[in-house]
Amino acid sequence: MSSDSSNADILLKNPVSFLDNSNPAGDIAISSRIRLARNISGHAFPSTASEEDSAKVCEEISAAAGETAVFAHRGALSFTSSEMSKLDRKILLERRLASKEFFTKIPGRRLLVCPQEACSLMINEEDQIRLQVIRPGMQLHQVWKEIDQLDDELGKHLNFAFDNQLGYLTSCPTNVGTGMRASVMLHLPALVLSGQIDQTVNGISKLNMAVRGIFGEGSEHLGALFQISNQSTLGESETHIIDQLEQLIKQLINCEKHARRELMEKKQNFLLDHIGRAYGLLKYSYVLSEKEALNALSGLRLGVYLELFKNLDIRKVNELLIELSPAHLRKKAGIELNDRECDEFRASYCREKLRQTS
């Protein structure tokens, strides 16, 4: 495993694993992710542990990970939070490999990433182990199979903190039990456009599932991208939680499809105008903010689904979702950009990418 801050540059050569286009139900369900929280028996949780203890735990977990096929692969990467530049940190955030909390000052933090980025492991974040598997489309059960196996492999070398009644013990009681948070990223533009989204979100919250926008705050619904995840981690088995989540998501996908049909039948001009403006903004503007880009990409994605464009597929739009985010753009530019310059570079990058489309 190599350890170097230039590892972020290696990542940039990969297509982002969770945005692949060859995925089931991928036009609405963009990606499926499961995260497991684990701690090692006999050690304090990261926020209270001494520097010495954290370093020890970090080495112990890294060694155990080195015994798994996934992380022992010679293409696997290792990142040390304290040794990374601000820009490289943001790259990891935008690729959903690390959390903001991971970069707060606590000693002994390390991130391991498997070659295709589908599996990653944060050491000493809120819990000592935050294992993640993320795959494109709607495939939570497949993701569970992978992460369950990886967790078993780690468990052969580590003595997890576990209580017979409470299950896996975590730093915060909101994760205790399975320690599992399963989530699916959904693109729901028609529910947003037809004003049904707030009602839908309220309904989901009543079912003890959590829903939040991927970008922006509160009721902005930036990019019409949402994350649906389980709220409760104790009292149900992992597969039961995943079944319920899947059932809910299938319903949401049907609602979104229904809303798309309704818009197409009853408000066709409104819908086509929305998509056309989004396309125009991305193809012809000279200054493009992140928010504008996200909302326009959402419109473009809907247009691709309705087969309105030539030479444009979901994969290209998905790639743009990552490529147009601030840290990725700045890396691409290779020179320092202030916010205004970044918006200009975003516009020119996007014009170039969409040049061949019509």
Binding site: D148, D152, Q165, P173, V176, G235, S237, T239
Partner: protein, 184 residues
């Protein structure tokens, strides 16, 4: 909605100010909100996950009440990591070490009731963990059956249906018998 001050950025902070009987509402972007009140942030509005999860103050008081005859041991502290109720509050509901789950068992129990759908772990277990799950599963079943009766009596049919589903799933697991394999 645009910020009512700069009229440029999206308003992301919504403030209600009560002056006696009147109430003023302001919609600001985060920049202008900072200028209006430099201390503005979620924490300074008094939100703390610990307050929602645990009734820390009440808990601390009960403890003090229980120990009022003794001079020492007024505050409950985790013997392993020295964590106490004040630190739980300060850290936003986090515990210090696995042992804290024993130390603060009562406090945690009430927190779990609020956020979790059950009180007994029914998921996977480390290969070497004790395999006495049938007893635990039966205890959980009994608890759920009681809960179902209460829900039906209160005419909370939606919640009752969910509860019934969980009872059925649990019964299946118990009759399947093999508790280490059934969740795989």
């Amino acid at each position: 909605m645009l910020c009512e001050r700069c009229k440029k950025n999206e308003a992301t902070v919504h403030i209600k100010e009560f002056h006696g009987a009147t109430c003023e509402t302001h919609h600001l972007c985060s920049e202008c909100a900072k200028k209006k009140d430099p201390d503005i942030s979620l924490e300074n509005f008094g939100f703390n996950l610990a307050d929602v999860l645990f009734d820390v103050e009440k808990f601390a008081k009960t403890l003090q009440g229980n120990n009022s005859h003794e001079e020492e041991n007024v505050e409950l502290k985790c013997p392993n990591c020295n964590w106490d109720a004040a630190k739980i509050k300060k850290s936003g509901g986090r515990l210090g070490c696995p042992e804290c789950y024993n130390t603060f068992r009562d406090l945690i129990k009430s927190a779990l009731n609020q956020v979790q759908r059950g009180s007994v772990h029914l998921g996977k277990r480390p290969a070497d963990a004790a395999k006495n799950t049938p007893t635990l599963k039966k205890a959980e079943l009994k608890k759920l059956q009681d809960e179902l009766q209460k829900l039906v009596a209160a005419e909370e049919y939606e919640a009752a249906a969910l509860c019934r589903d969980r009872i059925n799933a649990l019964k299946e697991q118990i009759s399947a018998g093999n508790c280490t394999e059934d969740d795989k």
